[in-house]
Each structure stands twice: as structure tokens, then as C-alpha cells.
Assembly symmetry: C2
Homo-oligomer: 214 residues x 2
DNA sequence: CCACAACGAGAGCACTGCTCTTGCATTCGT
DNA sequence: ACGAATGCAAGAGCAGTGCTCTCGTTGTGG
């Protein structure tokens, strides 16, 4: 039942945009709006469920694309993942806006969402870690400063002896990917790069890979 | 009068978030909600006015910071501009979300907004152009493909004989900046880089500068 | 002096999220 | 087998929203 509500809500999200109306969802299902509150305590809770699904969906799409590109060059794997994320975002623009766009006003993301949110960045960091283990990362001067210490703490979650600089570069690549996809989706690229946006994204990802040291 | 409405609306935006209520603005001014419609045909039109103001505000902040850093190293100028944009975004997070976050549902940006929107990217591209004219950009293989042609068309707006690769890298730097600021503002960095986000941003900007060839 | 335009107030429509009460089935315990 | 308890949905209602329409006031120019 909750699944059906989520499905209808997702459909509404895809057509109407972020201002998801609980009443409209209920109307679509032929039930009173109050009945939906049996399954979701509030509109925010329904939003949270959709957010978690969206994170899982894009994460799975990225992982599947990377699995299909197994054995390829590390840089090409990054490109593959990035393009897969873009393809997903183009197919589900409102879901993308839900998770990587401006936060819904008055909505505080609960703890449940932070775990699925890490799937893509973990995938990217994993590729970088494997490349480092394979000795394919060029040597670079290590970073210093307070943020370097924080990145070193993050690095321990990925594996032993990963240079903080590499973790920072991997996060930067992910952030750049998010920014590039959002820029395309939110109209930032209009009137400058209108046709071959896929090629422009690949250009950017290869730049991020170079920054990593690949 | 329209100025006063915009001022109150901006205050509401800063406190309540993106769901700006026309009635609340009218209440704050001691007038009926219908009276506001004398000055703005719709809520969207008020939003548009605020969006234009926000673009101008961040653009001016960036330009002022760059002017104050005149004569500095080109890379340092990029860093200065990036940090100024970040400072503005931290001071006005809702205005940032308004212009660089997910578009308001059902809102179609009119033509009036595209000109002010280009101020920051023009500033960055200008720095890159000057660096190129000064011979400070390292040689890189030129890009090819459909997006390279589109970037070549864009390059003509910036000056004569600018390599398309450079325009692409400048745009990539701007996109990366937007992504990084949005990531910080929208909570993407939580639980990984929590203290020295300024340092992490500088790290990323220097990466973008390296990609440009500085 | 009067007409006209500008302006604001108020009522009202259709919509929203959310709460509370009521009623109908089903099912469970004795 | 029968009453009780539970799960579920509907409906009314509240406070709020964007927006439209009408009506009264006010100020100014001819």
C-alpha cells in the first residue's frame, strides 16, 4: 500500500514538479486525503521516502554502469559513472532536484537519508582507491591545513594509507559532477552549450580525473 | 513602493525560505494582499525581481572582491572571486538557492534574468582571458567535437582568438564553483568536511585553475 | 468643479497540509 | 458464536495560500 502511494507520488513528482500535493496523490488513488496519513505521518515523511528511493535509484544506476565497464581504464570508468549519473538525472529531473537541488523549505533531512546518499561518492572513491592501489595515480604534493586533517579522517573510511589529497580530489570530482549535472538541468548552460552537453560533461570529468592524478 | 515590497520580500525570503508568501509580505506592510497585485502581476513576477537583484548582488560582490585583488596572481584572483561568491552565498543562502538551486516549480525564467546571470561567469572568463593574453596559460591540446564548436562560438563573445578549450575550462571552473558552494550550502559536505570548508573550496578552485592551465 | 485614474480593502474561489471525529469491516479472544 | 477490539477510510473543519473581482476612497489635471 505504501508502495502504491510512493509510486503515484513519484508519478506526480515527475509531472508536476517539486510541489507535491498529498491531496492530488490521494485523489489519483481514489481515496480521501486523510487516508494517506495512515501510511505517512506527514508530507515530509513521504518526501523522505521518495528521497531515499531517489538516492538508491541513482546509486544503483551508477553502480550498474560501472560494473558494465569493468576492466576499463580508470579514467574511462569515471567517465562512465558520470555519464550514467547524468543519464539518470535527465530521465528523472525532479528526483534529481529533490536530492541535489535546494532543500525543501522547512524540511530537515532525517538520519535515514545520509546512508543512501553516499552510494555514488563511495563508488567514485572506490575507483580512485583502486587506481591508487594499482599505482596509476601520479605523485602530487600532499595538502596541509585543517581541511587536510578532516579529509584524512574521511580517508580512513575508504581504506588504509590513502593520501588525504586523493580523498579531497575524489570528493571534488563528485561535487563537480553534481554541479555540472545541476547546471545542465537547471538551465545554466542555455545559450552556450546547447547540443553536445554530453561531450562537455565528459570534458569536465576528464579534467577532474587529471586533477585526481590519473 | 515596489522597492519596499521587494525589501520586505527579501527579508521574508531570508527568514522563511523559498516558499515566499505574498500574503505574509502584505501583512508585514500593513496592507491587503490584493494591494500587492498593483505592483506585481503575480508571485512569479515578484520572484523574478528578487532573482535579478540576487544575480546583481552576487555579481557585484564578486567584481568588488576581484577589483580589490587587482595586480595579484591570476590564480589568486580566481581564488579571491570564488571565496567572495562563497561568502555571499553563506550570507544569503536563500538568495543563492533562488538563483543556483532547483528552479521554482512552474516558474519559467523570463529573458530579463539571463543578462544579470552572466556577470560572475563573465568575470571569471575575463580573468582567464587576461591570463591568456599575458601568456600565463600553459599550452594544451585543443579539444574537438561538437561541443568544441559550440564553445568556439561562445569564445567569440569574450575576445578574438581565444581557444575553445580555454572557454570550456573557464565555464567548468564556474560550474565547479557553483557546485562546491551548493554542496556546502545544501548539506552535502556534512560529516566529512565540517570546519575548514573555506580551505577545501580553495583547494578545489586551485584545481580548477590548474585545469585551465594556470 | 468634476471626471478620471490610481490605489487599497474586502469578499470570495479553489486549492493546500493537517487534525479530529465518525463509521464501517474484519478479526481476534473468550 | 458473539461481543470487543482493531485497522482503515471518509468527511468535516481549520488555517493558510495565490489570485480575481468589485467597490469605496483619494488625489490630481483639465
Amino acid at each position: 500500500m505504501t508502495e502504491e502511494i510512493k509510486a503515484v507520488a513519484r508519478r506526480h513528482l515527475a509531472s508536476d514538479g517539486a510541489n507535491l500535493s498529498l491531496r492530488a496523490v490521494a485523489r489519483d488513488m481514489g481515496m480521501a486525503s486523510s487516508a494517506v496519513y495512515r501510511y505517512f505521518a506527514s508530507r515530509d515523511e513521504l518526501l523522505t521516502a521518495l528521497i531515499i528511493e531517489a538516492y538508491d535509484s541513482v546509486g544503483e544506476a551508477a553502480e550498474r554502469a560501472d560494473a558494465a565497464a569493468a576492466g576499463a581504464d580508470f579514467t574511462d570508468r569515471l567517465v562512465t559513472v558520470g555519464l550514467a549519473v547524468r543519464d539518470w538525472a535527465l530521465a528523472e529531473p525532479h528526483q534529481w532536484a529533490l536530492i541535489y537541488g535546494s532543500p525543501v523549505p522547512g524540511y530537515q533531512a532525517p538520519q535515514d537519508t545520509i546512508m543512501p546518499a553516499t552510494r555514488v561518492i563511495f563508488l567514485i572513491a572506490g575507483i580512485v582507491r583502486d587506481a591508487y592501489a594499482a599505482g596509476r595515480i601520479a605523485e602530487r604534493p600532499e595538502i596541509t591545513g585543517r581541511y587536510a586533517e578532516e579529509l584524512a579522517a574521511v580517508a580512513e573510511q575508504f581504506g588504509p594509507d590513502i593520501p588525504p589529497r586523493l580523498v579531497g580530489a575524489a570528493m571534488a570530482a563528485f561535487i563537480q559532477l553534481c554541479g555540472a549535472v545541476s547546471a545542465e538541468l537547471f538551465g545554466q548552460l542555455n545559450n552556450s552549450v546547447d547540443e553536445d552537453r554530453r561531450g562537455f560533461l565528459e570534458f569536465q570529468i576528464r579534467g577532474a580525473a587529471a586533477f585526481i592524478g590519473l
